[in-house]
Symmetry: D2
Subunit: 159 residues, 4 copies
């Protein structure tokens, strides 16, 4: 029930013009949700991204994720392909947390790595420019996006 109350409170604050940015308690709730996730899925065709993401989750003392084998090609017709992949996993499986990676917007806009909860709400995210801009390997880009997503909500490396 934690997120529901938190979202209700934040919304009431916004309505009443007394919202002054995110609080540490809110960030702590997101951390707790991720720490306690029992089933984490990464929708994907192959396992490369999953290996890198599990390496990062491990470095931050977080539970490991599993691959959810879905052909996510079709997500590219969506306005936010990365989010469309996450929703495909949400709608076709039961889990607590989904980590999906895909294009941010139109072709050329780069990539987005997104964490959503079991209702499809966005918890955190990391982004990279297109490969032709950053020239990094896929592994490196995914690694850095995951670190960005976790550190953004206050997680620190434990290894």
């Amino acid at each position: 029930m934690a997120f529901e109350k938190m979202i209700k409170n934040a919304f009431d604050e916004s309505r009443n013009n007394c919202r002054f940015g995110d609080t540490l308690e809110e960030i702590k709730e997101i951390q707790d949700y991720i720490k306690n996730a029992e089933k984490i899925y990464i929708p994907n065709k192959d396992g490369v991204k999953v290996e890198v993401l599990n390496k990062v989750l491990n470095e931050y003392g977080l539970p490991q994720a599993e691959i959810l084998q879905i052909n996510t090609n079709t997500a590219d017709t969506n306005r936010i392909p990365a989010l469309a992949k996450a929703y495909m996993a949400l709608d076709q499986s039961e889990c607590d947390l989904i980590i999906a990676r895909g294009r941010l917007g139109i072709p050329g806009s780069g990539s987005l790595l997104i964490f959503i909860d079991n209702k499809g709400r966005i918890l955190t995210a990391g982004m990279s420019p297109s490969h032709v801009i950053h020239q990094k390997s896929l592994e490196e880009a995914v690694y850095e996006e995951a670190v960005e997503a976790l550190e953004k909500i206050g997680f620190e490396k434990v290894i």
Copy 2:
């Protein structure tokens, strides 16, 4: 017509399993769209973010934006508040480009600065953690998000 053809091509490549990431031509199209924008709006209540964003646009040799005064408080009930603000501007005004800033997802998830075109398609974006995490001033955070968004699609400072 440029984006329409580009999106169609990229979609056909995805369907046929021959899409190998964003191309320089696609990034060039996004750059041209932004360079040639004649009316750029930033939906906002006050002018602080607009000043910072115009400073950045100027540093990258890009056209200046105007404030579109909308009370965007209500966007906070959306799944992606930053995008909801951008769509409020899109639906209530005529312009080529909208730059909107708001929360990325649930309370605690930090902020998102997003560029959308005249049909609501995402061109680029920048993100920051919550203020309680990064401890930067609003001006500094907006500045860095805008620089991230522009450099991600290959723009370079001209000043």
Copy 3:
């Protein structure tokens, strides 16, 4: 787990060009979900619509709904205000089923009554033209939309 498997199967059929429309089993799953809902919320400011909706649910032998008091005015800035109201309820409460009513699209497009599950997926819906077109009372319009939504998925009156 029912919907997840069903959605996965239907998606696989679509991909393989062997999807020939909705099946009776799929409709039966939706019926079972609604019949077995333990907590049904109707996001609303006042109780008029809730009374009418509960009358309809009762006539079809279905469990009763409760009002979820949220100020849903802000939903009108969304592309699909009815769905935005449903998502506000989804994000701010714990329940199995949400029945929300609001505008279908832009001003003038009439109203939409929508049923979503605990992950935000659309189960069924009913629609009405604007009041200035149909000239019916609010009670009558809501009643007919609810009947449309339930009969569309094969429910029959038991009273």
Copy 4:
């Protein structure tokens, strides 16, 4: 500019708690937009629906639509497949009006015929139950959905 002003006004009314439903002027704006559309697309693989829709448009004295050949199978992974088809057409072509038909929500939820403008805003819609419920032919179902969508916004047959 008509819709932009109209949406802004309606939104201001909602915020100030003085919105009392859609007005005849708003409905008239939607009618004018459809009457004056110069390029109308129907995204589809084959031409059956297009023929029926053009028959209806003709009966109501409205301009004819063209087929936009897109493989829209992939839309079925979306939360609102009918809307996803409409957006695929919006993003891959230049036109004033798009009429798309697809599933309303999850498998079993029936079909939705939707009219969107050149920015993706919903103007009107019609719905049918699944074929296994209504037992009508495809032609008949599409015909009735189109009539519902047009009469809902005050159009009348001229033939």
